[in-house]
C-alpha cells in the first residue's frame, strides 16, 4: 500500500489524498448494500430446500457441488399445485405487447396534434390530460370493473328510463381489459414525454413540408415518426417495464390467464410449502426486464429525464 513516495509525504497531504478517495469508498459501500440482496436471491435460487432452511446463502460458496437447477426445472413443469411458469410467462407477453404498442401509437398522434396543430382549447386540454399523471389509478378501478363486467347504463332521473350507453362486450377477465386499462393509465405520461420531444423539433422542416403540399397525415408518418424514434423508444422501455412488472391492475381485472407477478405472489402466500421455488420464480420474472434495462438503459434514462427534468 504505502509506496516510498507516499511514505515521504507530509501527513496533511496524505490525509487529503485519503479524503479525495472518500467519495469512491462511500459510493461503493452503498453500491454493495444495494446489490447484495439481489445476489442473495440469485444464489438461493440454485440451492436445495434443506440448505436454504439451514444455512445462509453466503455459505453456498463452501460446497458448490450442492447447487442445482432443480428449482428451475420444477417451476417450468406443470404440477397439481401450480401450472407451469411458461403459461404465466405467456400470459404476461399477451398483456405486455399490446399494452406497450397501443399507448405509444395513440400518444404519438396526440403529441403531434398538441405540439404542431392549432385549435381552440389546446393548452387547457393538454394541461388537463397531462395532469392526470398524478391521478391515483385506484380512482378508476371500481367504475372500470363495473364497465367491463356489465357495460354502462344510465337511468334518466324522473322518467325512470334506463338507457344502455355501452353494451357488455364481454371483455371482463380478458387480456383486452388489461390492455385498455394500461393504455388509459399510461397515456398521460406518454403524451408528456412525446410532446416534450416533438415540440422541440425545428419548425422549419414542418413549414417546408407544408409548403410542398404535404398533409398533416403525411408529415406525421414521414417526418414525426422517424424523427421521434428516440422518444418513442424511451417511452416503450418505460411502458414495457411498467406493464411487465404490474401486479395491481392484473389482480383487479383478471381471475384467469394471470401474468407472472400474480403467480409469484401466490407462491409467497403459501409459506413453507414450495418455499424454495419463489427464488427461482422471482429471478425468472426479473430476467426479462433486467435484460431490457441493461441493453436499453440509455433510452430509459432519456425518458426519465424528459419526463421530469424539464421545467
Amino acid at each position: 500500500m504505502t509506496s516510498p513516495q507516499t511514505a515521504l509525504m507530509p501527513t496533511g497531504l496524505r490525509l487529503r489524498r485519503l479524503a479525495a478517495e472518500a467519495p469512491t469508498w462511500v459510493m461503493w459501500l452503498i453500491v454493495v448494500v444495494w446489490t447484495v440482496p439481489t445476489i442473495g436471491l440469485f444464489v438461493s435460487s440454485f440451492r436445495k430446500v434443506r440448505d436454504i432452511d439451514s444455512s445462509g446463502w453466503w455459505t453456498a460458496w463452501n460446497d458448490l457441488d450442492n447447487l442445482t437447477f432443480q428449482n428451475y426445472r420444477d417451476i417450468f413443469r406443470e404440477s397439481a399445485a401450480q401450472p407451469s411458469m411458461w403459461e404465466f410467462a405467456f400470459n404476461s407477453v399477451a398483456i405486455v405487447v399490446p399494452a406497450t404498442i397501443i399507448p405509444i401509437a395513440v400518444a404519438a398522434f396526440a403529441a403531434y396534434g398538441f405540439a404542431w396543430m392549432d385549435f381552440r382549447g389546446r393548452n387547457w386540454l393538454f394541461i388537463g390530460l397531462v395532469s392526470m399523471i398524478a391521478l391515483p389509478n385506484q380512482m378508476a378501478f371500481v367504475p372500470l370493473l363495473q364497465l367491463f363486467n356489465g357495460g354502462a347504463r344510465f337511468t334518466i332521473p324522473g322518467v325512470d328510463w334506463t338507457l344502455a350507453l355501452l353494451p357488455d362486450v364481454g371483455i371482463a377477465n380478458t387480456a383486452a381489459a388489461v390492455w385498455l386499462t394500461h393504455t388509459a393509465f399510461g397515456l398521460p405520461l406518454a403524451v408528456l414525454l412525446l410532446h416534450n420531444f416533438v415540440s422541440q423539433l425545428p419548425r422549419d422542416i414542418f413549414e417546408a413540408a407544408r409548403i410542398d403540399g404535404a398533409s398533416h397525415f403525411t408529415i406525421f408518418c414521414r417526418l414525426v415518426v422517424p424523427l421521434a424514434r428516440p422518444a418513442l423508444a424511451a417511452f416503450a422501455v418505460f411502458q414495457f417495464l411498467w406493464t411487465w412488472n404490474d401486479y395491481l391492475i392484473a389482480s383487479v381485472f383478471l381471475n384467469e390467464n394471470e401474468p407472472m407477478t400474480i403467480a409469484l405472489v401466490n407462491l409467497v402466500g403459501e409459506r413453507g410449502q414450495n418455499f424454495q421455488l419463489r427464488f427461482a420464480s422471482a429471478f425468472v420474472i426479473m430476467v426479462v426486464p433486467l435484460i431490457v434495462f441493461f441493453s436499453l438503459q440509455r433510452h430509459f434514462v432519456r425518458g426519465l429525464l424528459a419526463g421530469s427534468v424539464k421545467g
Partner: protein
C-alpha cells in the same frame, strides 16, 4: 398453441382496427374539401350505425332482443341503420354544398381532433369519467352503489375507526428521541444561520463572536450527526420496553397544558420569523449557509418522522410512507449524485444502484423478505439477522412480529427507498451536470469553498429538479400497494390505503372502496394542483 394463435390474432386485429380507424378518419377529413358528399355520407353512416345500435340494444323495437342482449342478433338492424344513414347523408351533401373556402376552414378545424381525439377518448373514458364516478359512488348508500340516496358514512367510517385514523398517542411525540434530536438540530441550525450571516454583514466584534460560534457549532453539528445516527439506529433495533423515567415524562407532557404551551410557542416563533421577514431582514438569518441548510433539512425530516411514528392508523401510516420514502430517496439520491461525480467507477456504480428500478415491486418484496428472514432456532438464514446474531443481538422478525410496531413499517419502506433512490440519483446527477460551468468556476475564483459552491451555487440551480423528484416520488409512494401486499398484507399495523382499498374492492364493497380511493386522491391533490400551475407557467 391455440392460445398463442388467439393471442396473435387478437393483437394483430386490435392494431389493424386502430390503424384503419386512424387512416379512415384522416381520409374522411380530407374529403371535407375535395368530396363533400362523401364526407356527409360517412357522417351519415356513423349516425345510422349509432342509432341502429341504440335502438337495438335498448330493445325499442316491438320484437327486438331485451336490454343488454347480445349485439349479434341485431347486426341486420344496425347495418340497415348504417346504409340508410349513408343514403341520407349523401343526399344532404349533394343538395347543400357550402363554399370551398368554408369547407377548407372546416377541414383545418377538424383535423386536430383526429390526432388528439383518441388520446382524449382514452383519458376521458379511462381516467376522468371513472374518477368522477368513483367520487359519486363514495357518497352512495349501500355497498354496490345501486341503492337510492346519499350518505357520508363511508368517510366517517374511515375517520372514526381507530385502525384507520386516530390522534391517540400524540403525547409520545415529545419523548420520541428522533423528535428531540430534530428539535436540537433546528436550534443549532438557527444559530448557524445567524452566525454565517454575521460573518457577512456584522461589525468587527460581531464577526469575532460569529467566528467563535461557527467553530463551536461545527463541533456541535458533528456531535448531532452522531446523535442522530445513534438515535435512529437505536430506535430501529431496540426492544420495545420503555424505562420508568420515560413513563413519568410521558405523563407530564401528555397534559393538555403542555400541548397548549407547545402550540403557543410554535405560533410565537412563527410570528417572530414572519415579522423579521416582513421587515426585509432576511439577511439576519442566512438559511442558505451550508451548515444551516443541511441541518434544517435534517431537523425537518427528523421532527416529521418522529411525529408520524407516534401517530397510528392506516391514513397516518400512508403519510409516514410518503414522508420517509420521498425524503430518504431524494437525500440519498442527491448524496450519490454528488459522490459519483468524484468517484471512480462512476458508471458501473450508478448502473447497479439504478438497477432495482427494473425489478418489479413483487420481486423486490421477495428479495427483501428473504434478507429480513428470521429463524426461530439454529442458524439465521436472513443476512440481517445473521449480522445481528454475530454482533450479539437477538434476531428479530423485522416486519412479521407485532413487537416491532411501528418500526416494522420502516423496514418495508426501506424496500421502496431501495427501488427509488436510483431514480432520484439519475435525475439529480443530470441536473448537476447541467449547471453552467461558468457559474461554479466564477464562485471558485471568488474563493468559495467546495461546500459553499455546492450549497450556494449548485443547489439553487437544481432546486426545480429536486422539487420535480420529490413530487414524482410523492405520487408514486402515496399509492404504494404491491410491497405491502407481498410482505405483510397489512398485518401488524402495516396497512396502507391502497391495500385497504383493494381488499374492499375484492369483497365487493364498491362504495367504501371508492371512499378509500378518494382519500388517496385527496393526498395527491396538492401535487396535482402544483403540477397544473407549473404546466400553465411553462405553456404561457
Amino acid at each position: 398453441m391455440a392460445q398463442l394463435v388467439t393471442m396473435l390474432v387478437s393483437v394483430a386485429g386490435a392494431l389493424l382496427v386502430s390503424a384503419v380507424v386512424f387512416i379512415g378518419a384522416n381520409r374522411a377529413v380530407d374529403s371535407v374539401r375535395s368530396r363533400w358528399p362523401a364526407f356527409t355520407a360517412s357522417l351519415g353512416v356513423l349516425a345510422g350505425l349509432l342509432v341502429g345500435a341504440v335502438v337495438q340494444h335498448n330493445g325499442w323495437l316491438p320484437r327486438g332482443p331485451a336490454v343488454g342482449g347480445p349485439l349479434k342478433e341485431g347486426w341486420l338492424l344496425i347495418g340497415a341503420g348504417g346504409i340508410a344513414g349513408a343514403a341520407v347523408g349523401a343526399l344532404i351533401g349533394k343538395l347543400a354544398q357550402p363554399a370551398l373556402t368554408r369547407r377548407s376552414h372546416w377541414e383545418e378545424r377538424l383535423r386536430p381532433w383526429v390526432f388528439v381525439g383518441p388520446a382524449l377518448v382514452f383519458v376521458a373514458g379511462g381516467l376522468v369519467l371513472p374518477g368522477l364516478r368513483t367520487l359519486f359512488l363514495s357518497f352512495k348508500n349501500g355497498t354496490r352503489g345501486r341503492e337510492p340516496g346519499f350518505t357520508l358514512e363511508h368517510y366517517t367510517d374511515i375517520f372514526t375507526n381507530r385502525t384507520f385514523f386516530t390522534f391517540e398517542g400524540w403525547p409520545s411525540i415529545f419523548t420520541s428521541r428522533l423528535f428531540i434530536v430534530g428539535l436540537a438540530a433546528a436550534v443549532v441550525a438557527a444559530a448557524a444561520a445567524w452566525a454565517s450571516s454575521s460573518l457577512i454583514v456584522g461589525g468587527p466584534a460581531r464577526v469575532a463572536a460569529a467566528t467563535r460560534l461557527m467553530r463551536a457549532l461545527k463541533v456541535v453539528a458533528v456531535l448531532l450527526v452522531v446523535a442522530v445516527a445513534v438515535a435512529f439506529i437505536e430506535s430501529l433495533v431496540r426492544e420495545p420496553n420503555r424505562s420508568e423515567i420515560m413513563d413519568v415524562l410521558t405523563v407530564i407532557v401528555s397534559s393538555r397544558v403542555t400541548l397548549w404551551i407547545a402550540v403557543v410557542a410554535a405560533a410565537l416563533i412563527l410570528t417572530a420569523w414572519l415579522a423579521a421577514r416582513a421587515r426585509g431582514r432576511e439577511a439576519e438569518l442566512d438559511w442558505g449557509a451550508p451548515a444551516a441548510s443541511s441541518l434544517v433539512i435534517a431537523a425537518a425530516i427528523l421532527i416529521v418522522f418522529g411525529a408520524l411514528s407516534t401517530l397510528r392508523g392506516v391514513v397516518w401510516n400512508n403519510i409516514w410512507w410518503v414522508v420517509t420514502v420521498a425524503g430518504l430517496s431524494t437525500v440519498l439520491g442527491l448524496l450519490l449524485a454528488v459522490l459519483a461525480e468524484r468517484a471512480r467507477g462512476e458508471r458501473i456504480g450508478k448502473t447497479l444502484i439504478f438497477m432495482p428500478m427494473a425489478i418489479s415491486m413483487v420481486g423486490a418484496a421477495v428479495i427483501w423478505d428473504f434478507m429480513y428472514e428470521v429463524q426461530p432456532m439454529g442458524n439465521q438464514t436472513g443476512l440481517f439477522n445473521a449480522v445481528l446474531q454475530g454482533l450479539g443481538f437477538t434476531p428479530r422478525g423485522f416486519f412479521i412480529n407485532a413487537t416491532m410496531i411501528p418500526w416494522n413499517n420502516f423496514w418495508i419502506m426501506f424496500i421502496m427507498v431501495w427501488i427509488q433512490t436510483g431514480f432520484a440519483m439519475v435525475v439529480l446527477a443530470a441536473a448537476i451536470r447541467a449547471v453552467p460551468e461558468e457559474l461554479t468556476e466564477a464562485a471558485e475564483v471568488d474563493g468559495a469553498s467546495r461546500a459553499q459552491v455546492f450549497w450556494r451555487v449548485v443547489m439553487p440551480q437544481i432546486r426545480p429538479t429536486i422539487i420535480v423528484v420529490v413530487t414524482t416520488l410523492i405520487v408514486i409512494v402515496t399509492k404504494v400497494f404491491d410491497l405491502v401486499k407481498a410482505t405483510t398484507n397489512g398485518a401488524n399495523r402495516t396497512n396502507v390505503l391502497a391495500n385497504e382499498m383493494f381488499d374492499q374492492l375484492r369483497d365487493r364493497n364498491f362504495t367504501s372502496s371508492s371512499a378509500f380511493a378518494v382519500v388517496l386522491f385527496a393526498l395527491v391533490l396538492p401535487v396535482m394542483i402544483y403540477n397544473i400551475r407549473r404546466l400553465q407557467r411553462e405553456l404561457a
